[in-house]
Structure formats: C-alpha cells, structure tokens
C-alpha cells in the first residue's frame, strides 16, 4: 500500500518526533515549573528565549543550528574532531530540529499548568515536613500532569509537521533524513505522483488527529480541581 520511500518517511517521522519529545521533556518540565512558580531576575528574558523558536521562521532556526552543529560549527567541529560525530545531515539532526521547534509549545503548556497551581498545596506539604524534592515529585509534578500531557501532544504534532528547520539542518535524503513532510514536498514536485501525495497527506492527518484524540482521552482521566 505504501511505497518503500513512504514507509521510511513515516517511520523516521514517528521515531524522530517521539525521541525529540522524550529528550526535551525533562528540561521542559523543569523550565515550565520554574517559569510558572518562581520569580527570579532574568525571568522575562528566559521566557523570551524559550519562546524564540515559536516566532522565528523555521529556516532561520535550521540555519542557526547548522552554524552551531555543522562540521565547522562551534559544537560541530570539536564533536567531529574528538569523537568523529557528525550531526548535520544525520538522523540526529532530524531529532534535534524536531526537538527545538516543539520545545516552546511544551514549555508553554507546562508553565500554564504550573501558574494555575495553588502555591498553598506546596505550603501544606512543607508543613507536613516534606523536602522540596519530595514536594516536586509527589505534589507539583502530579498537579502539572494535564499541562505536561498537552505539551507532549502539541510538541509531538509540531515535530511531525516540521519542515523548514529539518530540510536546512538535515537535508532531504530519502531513507535517511527524509521525514513525512519532506517526502510530501518531494512528491509534490514530481509530476504524476498525485496518488503518493494524497497518501502522505492522509497519513499526516491521521497522525496529528490521533495525537489530539489520545491527549483528550488521557486528560479526561486525570482528576480535576487542582487549580486555584
């Protein structure tokens, strides 16, 4: 039903988006919690930096990443020289591009649930003798769960649809860095591939819709009433 190229693209997209979300999740939780619950110098600046990938054109993000991670880049050159790791135009590049564009959406959703959390839950836990670590893992984290799930879904959907940063940092190599949107781009540029384009469109729709439905289903199972 699907051609080899389409299967490869689908599997790569799913894999890269899942890994991108998993890798960035702990950092996004920490940042979202900090931005939502704490006041500190540089709060507004940090918030702006986190949101930057949301407003920058994806091509710019891809190009900046290429400058840093490319073979002559700040990080890319030492990585290549010391460990022989080349990130640009590899599968890792796809994951990194997906992670960066999805990151602000994830932090934003988590920050909102952290802001909505009544600080007196933590006060109550403290008065019961709980350490800050225990409060974070047993009270704050569970209360932020709806935001975390929303963030995961949004970031995943954004990562699956990622195009500009990926094509700049990872290029469009079939079977290696060609994700679903890149494959779709290729077939739309090729006369006579309308059927393939239709199949890839439907796949994208199913993926995005499926992620949304899954998150709705999970969110409905979480007990509400944790917000102030």
């Amino acid at each position: 039903m699907l051609s080899q190229m389409e299967q490869d693209a689908l599997i790569l997209s799913l894999r890269a988006s899942t890994l991108a979300v998993l890798w960035s999740l702990p950092i996004a939780i920490a940042l979202g919690w900090m931005l939502g619950q704490k006041r500190f110098p540089g709060h507004a600046l940090l918030n702006a930096v986190v949101h930057l990938p949301l407003v920058l054109p994806p091509i710019v993000i891809g190009y900046l990443l290429l400058l840093v991670l490319g073979r002559n880049g700040m990080l890319g050159a030492p990585l290549d020289a010391l460990f022989g790791i080349r990130i640009a135009f590899s599968k890792s590049a796809v994951i990194i591009a997906c992670a960066v564009v999805g990151f602000p959406l994830m932090v934003r959703a988590i920050r909102q649930s952290a802001e909505a959390m009544d600080p007196r839950y933590a006060h109550a836990a403290r008065s019961l003798g709980a350490s800050e670590w225990r409060i974070f893992f047993t009270v704050s984290l569970p209360l932020m769960t709806p935001g975390i799930l929303t963030g995961i879904t949004l970031a995943f959907a954004r990562a699956v649809g990622e195009f500009g940063a990926t094509i700049t940092l990872a290029a469009n190599i079939p079977g290696r860095t060609q994700t679903l949107p890149l494959a779709l781009f290729t077939v739309t540029q090729t006369p006579g591939e309308e059927a393939a384009a239709a199949r890839l469109c439907i796949l994208s729709l199913l993926l995005a819709g499926g992620a949304l439905l899954a998150s709705e289903a999970i969110t409905r199972r979480i007990p509400q009433g944790a917000t102030r």
């Binding site: 007196r120 006060h123 769960t145 009433g225």
Partner: protein, 233 residues
C-alpha cells in the same frame, strides 16, 4: 509559650504584633479581613518572612531577624489547615493522611481517624468529598504529622451552619484528645467564643485585646510590650 514580636510591612499594610501566650488549648485569633490575621498566620507557618522580630514556640526559635534565624516551614512542626482544605487532589484520603505521618504509631493513626470519623472516607478521592468531610480530612492530615502547634485558617467558614457546629465540636474533641495546641483564625466572634480558651483580637495589624475565653470574663486591653523584639530561646 508562644512568643511573637513581629514588624512587617506589605504595601500600605503594617504589622506590629507582640504576643506572649501559653501554648495550650485553642487560641482564637479574630479580626476583620485586612486586620493582619492572615499575614500573622503566614509568618508563623514560615511562608512569609517578616522584616524584623522573632517567633518562638516553647523555647524553640523559628525566626529571629537579629540572629539571622529563619527555620524553613518543613522544620517548624507546625500544622496548617486552610479554609478550602486543600487536600492533595491526586491522592486518596488515606494518601493525604499518610503524607506527613512518617513516624506515627498505629494507635495514634487510629485515634485520629476515629475522632474525626474518617474511616469510611479513606479510599475516596477529595473531589468526591463534601465540604465538611474535606475539612475533617484536612485536619486529620495536619494532625498525623504530630505538629507542636496547629494553625487553622477559617476552617469552617465555607460550611453551612449545621455542619459548622458539628465540625467545631470535632475540633474541640480532637484538641482534648491529642492535646495539640491550636491557633484558630476566624472573622466570626461566635465561633471563637464557643471554641477557644483564649481570644486575641487584631485590628489594623495590631493586637488590641486578649481575653480569657471563659464565659463572662472581660477582655482586657493589650499593651504592646515596651521591650519588644526579645524572644526566649
């Protein structure tokens, strides 16, 4: 003894409170909203750091600005009960009760559950509980940590009158059985008169009177001690 000498400013509001009372029974703290009850609550519990002064309980210093002592809330052993209860919504009542009950013996655990009539609620989630049940569970949760002092902030003001009376009786019974000293914050003089052995009245950030709760005794005006800012401990 509970000893407080506090100076704090928050915007236009100024707290200037000196209080020395025995740590026993239920001490009522009344005053209109904005009189400084909540700020005082928050300073004692350790959620707010006062500008200046000291707080001690039975000779244990929690806070002393001059000696740079500020015990974190987790180390103060002060229980808190909020108006809305604020049980952890993702845990059952049992989970809530167990949260602070680290070294509590089975007999004390059972006694608290029995006194507050919580046995049938243990497996319920807070969202399923009525307002009165939620407050009983919240009082139980605070007691299970065996606090040296329990702060109750308007614990019955969200309840309907019948439930209010019953919950007040429960609080009195719990105090009698556990002998945990309590500070009961309220804007309702009737509640406090009914429950408390001693009543402290606040107005505009100051304590204006302290009376013995025994019926008929007259409130005497409270003179702010001249040698303020001296806590034993």
């Amino acid at each position: 003894m509970i000893e407080l000498h506090l100076r704090h400013r928050q915007g236009d509001f100024e707290l200037e409170t000196d209080l020395v009372v025995p740590a026993e029974g239920i001490i009522g703290l009344i005053g209109r909203s904005g009189s400084g009850k909540s700020t005082l609550f928050s300073c004692i519990a350790g959620h707010t750091r006062p500008r200046r002064g000291c707080i001690s309980l039975n000779g244990r210093l929690f806070f002393h600005s001059a000696h740079r002592i500020n015990l974190p809330p987790a180390a103060r052993h002060i229980g808190v009960v909020f108006q809305e209860g604020l049980l952890f919504p993702h845990m059952t009542v049992r989970g809530n009760l167990a949260y602070g009950a680290r070294n509590v013996g089975t007999s004390f655990w059972n006694e608290v559950i029995e006194t507050l009539d919580l046995a049938s609620l243990l497996d319920a989630r807070p969202a399923r509980l009525s307002g009165g049940e939620r407050q009983r569970a919240a009082i139980g949760r605070a007691l299970m940590a065996e606090p040296e002092l329990l702060l109750l902030d308007e614990p019955v003001s969200a309840l309907d009158p019948g439930l209010k009376a019953r919950t007040l009786d429960l609080i009195a019974r719990v105090q009698e059985r556990t002998q945990t000293p309590m500070i009961y914050i309220s804007h309702s003089p009737e509640e406090v008169r009914r429950l408390c052995s001693r009543v402290v009245t606040m107005q505009a950030g100051r304590i204006i009177s302290i009376s013995d709760g025994a019926a008929g005794s007259k409130a005497r005006p409270h003179l702010a001690s001249a040698q303020a800012l001296r806590c034993t401990g």
